[in-house]
């Protein structure tokens, strides 16, 4: 667009309205298509099943989880429901755990538990075995959550690992790590921070980031983004 001439009047800049695109077919793009097509041809799954799960992967994110926490902070009755019948509470924020994709559960999911933090207990979630995560509520897990390094170390040295995320938990607060699995998922409900008095549900939801619901961060007025942390490769990978 270096020579873009036109004679009409308007105040937008064409060079800024077109986002850059990749103009190259990568080896990885081709590999993904090839694996998918061969699996479909071999009858391992159908194209429709793949489409449904891909749609699911594209539409999930941490918004329902944040909404649930904000709603619970404002409504004691809803909070009680979230802690006693989380599946029912999730329906109120648009998540049907028993049919999140419109085609049944993703895995053999059985139970969800929402872990309420208190002034004396702080929760963190992990999946030591693989990377089970409350996807319908929080979206896809971050890369570091999948890493063997986080999974192995958070259960052994929770406080130092949380410190790597910039979260220092005082000694008088117990840290509990909950281990997820295919059947059982968890989500953290942090304490509503000071300085949010009179806030609306939407305002509160903005500070309930994905990391707060994993337990590696605490909600704070003005902080609406997740922590950036470097994924450290495993020194002793599983099976080595």
């Amino acid at each position: 667009m270096s020579e873009h001439h036109h004679d009409h009047d308007h105040d937008h800049d064409h060079e800024k309205t077109v986002k850059p695109m990749v103009d190259e077919i990568t080896e990885f793009e081709v590999l993904e298509i090839a694996l998918r097509e061969l699996c479909i041809e071999k009858g391992i799954f159908t194209a429709e099943q793949h489409r449904i799960y891909t749609e699911f992967a594209e539409q999930i994110g941490p918004t329902p989880g944040a909404k649930l926490v904000a709603k619970a902070w404002l409504d004691p009755e809803f909070k009680k429901l979230a802690l006693t019948d989380p599946i029912e509470a999730c329906l109120q924020v648009g998540v049907d755990w028993l049919n999140p994709t419109g085609s049944g559960t993703i895995s053999d999911f059985h139970a969800l538990q929402i872990l309420e933090d208190s002034p004396t207990v702080h929760h963190v979630i992990v999946c030591c075995l693989c990377s089970c995560y409350p996807r319908p509520l929080l979206g896809n897990s971050p890369e570091w959550y999948r890493s063997p390094n986080y999974r192995r170390r958070i259960v052994r040295w929770p406080r130092p690992v949380l410190a790597e995320f910039g979260l220092e938990i005082p000694d008088n607060v117990e840290v509990r790590i909950e281990d997820s699995n295919q059947k059982h998922r968890f989500m953290v409900m942090p304490i509503r921070p000071e300085g949010t008095e009179g806030w609306s549900e939407d305002q509160l939801a903005e500070i309930v980031t994905r990391d707060c619901m994993i337990g590696v961060a605490l909600p704070k007025p003005g902080v609406t983004t997740n922590v950036k942390t470097k994924t450290i490769p495993a020194i002793r990978p599983v099976g080595s």
Binding site: C39, P237, V238
Partner: protein, 117 residues
């Protein structure tokens, strides 16, 4: 089955400079993940669902993730995420004979020709 055994076809792909950090920087694209990532997620979910009730020859969810962890830390340690997830999955499928090296090789050529047509 030695899961870490070298597979030439995948060595070539993983050795290419087509990883998303390189490609996105080259074209000034801001998306943190490559556009094929959600399709890969769909593929993994569909595969996990399909293989959950089957016999040993298939790839269970746990095997898939364990092998991804091992391969991502060893043979494909040069790749970023999610390229390491994708290539590890291909490695697991090939190692079990669920897909043959020949058919994958042929398909890669055919798909590239199709996309470049």
């Amino acid at each position: 089955m030695d899961i870490e055994q070298k597979i030439d076809l995948l060595e070539e792909i993983s050795g290419s400079n087509h990883t998303w950090p390189i490609i996105s920087a080259k074209y000034g694209v801001e998306n943190p993940l490559p556009p094929w990532k959600t399709s890969l997620d769909g593929l993994c979910d569909a595969l996990d669902r399909s293989c959950s009730d089957e016999e040993e020859s298939s790839l269970s969810f746990k095997q898939r993730r364990d092998e991804e962890d091992v391969l991502s830390a060893t043979r494909y340690a040069n790749l970023p995420y999610p390229e390491n997830q994708l290539v590890s999955l291909a490695h697991s499928l090939l190692s079990r004979g669920m897909i043959s090296k020949e058919e994958l090789g042929d398909r890669l050529v055919a798909i590239r020709a199709r996309l470049e047509a």
